[in-house]
Assembly symmetry: C2
Homo-oligomer: 461 residues x 2
């Protein structure tokens, strides 16, 4: 079975593929808001029907929240045919603030923007448009050759934007049905325009939160200012102690299980096309505040962080209030790399805070916040090099293994729950505005994304 | 004219005096809420009538907000008769949170609490009950001797609890009418139960507020955590830098104009009856966080402070949000002593912050917040020793000159606007719960307060 006619079919069928995508985009599958429950379910039905149209038997499985769609295609009797699991999610982020959209988020359309065609609407990039790149690649194979080059299991989730509460129980319950040779995930982006990227490592995360208690009630700063301990002053001192002057986290033992990325990956990153200046400028940053002696890319992809995401106490209204508040609050997330264990880091972080309490202040912790270790993909597997080659052929540019500063728990879960490696390939652009008003997806991302998957399927077969 | 029959008249008339006070307490003169505008006006009318009943011609003067009541009594032709201005305020704090009151705040009554009688209701202590101690003392003098021992101007304000916006313009416009030899103010408390107290110094105040700006928008802590400057981290570092490890304010030049109180006042304070242990325990404090080498009383009364009253930025809701916020906020008040100039301290404080900005962060300041210097009473004047002696006689305990950690702007305004010294004498108890639910005033404070003023009038005459 040759790839060339498949690619040709993809080109010929592009308008129809875009039309199909519009059908999915119109469904308001906002997973976090119970008001859209029926819409989420409708999107699941849409996928079951669409898979059926290319000969895939798919089932909508109920969960305590939103359905999972699972479909299978290919012959399971021939062990030499590779078995792939493809994962995507069909739910979307809420559209708030709606007033910042230039159009109805659920009336998608194609816009010609300075000669570049973009698909506009909620979910175009995250993740409906990306998910459909894989389905359309399968459709083209099926149309041209009557069959697919690999055995494929499809797993589409409707809860990704609301923390995936049903995912692990579902994976555990359906482990036999879901287990494949390798998982493919299409929910990431390209490191720079036109640079095909395989995400080979993701940072993990630890969430924690504490309240610092001082006086037993709010005090008047005239009457008690001086003798009274001020929780805002104390929490500031503690937060300030989290980092040293070189941007390193000063929590004892924080870096114990960090693993250096090695020169090979480092040199790949240096030439991967990531534009440091543009990255900083996009956020209005003039200089890096991260660890000295590490590049911005390393700070973002391979170094752990401790960030305060919320800090508050006392009076926040207009004007002035002469209060010494009874308490102050701090929300923290750490990004983890290498072998850093969230539970271990949590212990170290809490000890750091508790060792610094003064003047009778006390602290309480939120024990309901989870953590997840970093994910490092098993790039030694042959599939990674095969996919990298396929992507390089399509984009006419060497594909790169990149890191990601964020966390995609699903990648780690395939490993921990199903003992299955995962490969993350995606075509989102930096300016797609995912999770924000005016989300878009480039028609080029969609078109070449479909062609990319068609080539990857060939390469893996 | 002798004092003894006046004191006897006060004792005989106590029940009637309490009944009169109830009349004033029932009026809902909440100055800060426009819904109570008529009630505030009604309280002014009540005072005009009550002054008339003791032969004082009083006038209600309209202002842009609430009325001023000014009354005069005594012969202005004899320069040897001392001329006193008495100041009190007849407006009260709002009653919120109303659900924490054990009774209707405006249905005052007398309660027997473990053998001690207390007057309960909003304004009993702050300041209607205190104000009436002076009026009742005048009434007793008038009843017994047909005249008062001093010439007196009464000034009653209805805006004290809402920042006194009309006070300075009114004082300026009516300067000739208001100017007297000395002002008497009854709006303070006793340093300990049964210890008559003259407040001889009040701390001043400087208010300021800044916003620290980092990235140009909220960032994702996965995508930008590491390279991006975090305003919460930066503001914490700056707030932590406000003090050194000994509790001293580390702003350069902050203490330049502090004046040491001297050994005489210091030894008076040491024996004034202030109970440090109880003061700390009342606030749930186990040890002082103030400046080393200063007593708790000195930290509260004679040392300047820099307090953060509000600090906030980022996400404050339930759970976690992986945000690096674009900005962070800090509200500050400084308590000032000696010759510290609010404008000078503002400049120094701002320089301290601006000198510590890093990584392209910027700062903006709220320029609408005022300041006022400390007030030190002119205790060298003969009236202070005369009053001290009169109070000592009444309470059978040496009266003391005390400091106050808070600020009472009116004392300073008499000096700056009318070039008139002021003397602050009051009978409120530490547990009167002013500004809070279940405000009360001890019947003993009221009764002996009236007797105290009767003696002070005799002593000053």
């Amino acid at each position: 079975m040759t790839i060339e006619p498949v690619l040709k079919q993809i080109d010929l069928d592009l308008d129809a593929a875009l039309e199909r995508l519009m059908g999915l985009l119109k469904i308001q599958s906002v997973s976090t808001d119970p008001a859209y429950k029926d819409e989420v379910s409708k999107a699941a039905d849409w996928l079951v029907d669409d898979l059926a149209s290319l000969g895939v038997t798919a089932t909508k499985h109920a969960t305590p929240m939103h359905p999972m769609v699972v479909g299978h295609v290919g012959d399971d009797s021939d062990a030499s045919v590779p078995h792939l699991l493809f994962y995507g999610h069909y739910d979307v982020q809420p559209v708030d603030p709606i007033e910042l959209w230039d159009h109805d988020p659920f009336k998608p359309f194609i816009e010609d923007r300075d000669g570049k065609k973009v698909i506009r609407g909620r979910g175009t990039s995250d993740d409906k448009g990306q998910l459909m790149t894989f389905i359309e690649a399968c459709r083209a194979w099926k149309t041209v050759h009557g069959t697919l080059p690999c055995r494929i299991t499809f797993l589409f989730e409707g809860e990704e934007e609301t923390g995936s509460p049903s995912l692990v129980p579902f994976m555990e319950k359906h482990a036999d049905e879901l287990k494949a040779d390798i998982a493919l995930i299409c929910d990431t982006g390209m490191v720079a325009p036109g640079v095909p990227s395989i995400a080979s490592q993701l940072r993990g995360m630890l969430k924690d939160e504490f309240t610092l208690y001082g006086p037993k009630m709010d005090l008047h700063s005239g009457h008690y200012g001086g003798p009274a301990v001020n929780p805002l002053k104390e929490i500031s001192r503690i937060v300030a102690s989290f980092h040293d002057d070189d941007g390193r986290v000063a929590v004892e033992g924080f870096y114990d299980d960090v693993i250096d990325i090695g020169d090979n990956l480092k040199s790949q990153w240096e030439t991967c096309g990531f534009d440091e200046a543009e990255y900083m400028e996009n956020a209005g940053l003039t200089e890096s505040a991260g660890e000295k002696d590490y590049s911005i890319l390393e700070q973002q992809w391979s170094r752990p962080t401790l960030e305060v995401n919320g800090l508050w106490g006392g009076y926040q209204g207009a004007g002035s209030k002469t209060v010494i508040p009874a308490e102050a609050h701090c929300k923290i997330t750490c990004r983890l790399v290498g072998d850093m264990d969230p539970d271990d880091i949590r212990v170290k972080l809490r000890k750091h805070v508790e060792d610094r309490l003064r003047f009778g202040t006390t602290v309480s912790w939120d024990n309901d916040l989870e953590g997840a270790p970093a994910s490092v993909m098993n790039t030694d597997r042959a599939e990674f090099e095969q996919a990298r080659q396929a992507l390089s052929d399509e984009w006419d540019r060497e594909a790169v293994f990149v890191g990601m500063g964020g966390s995609i728990p699903i990648a780690g879960l395939f490993k921990t729950v199903l003992d299955m490696d995962a490969m993350l390939i995606g075509f989102a652009a930096e300016d797609d505005r995912i999770h924000s008003p005016n989300e878009k997806y480039d028609v080029e991302s969609f078109h070449k994304g479909i062609r990319s998957w068609a080539r990857v399927l060939a390469a893996l077969s």
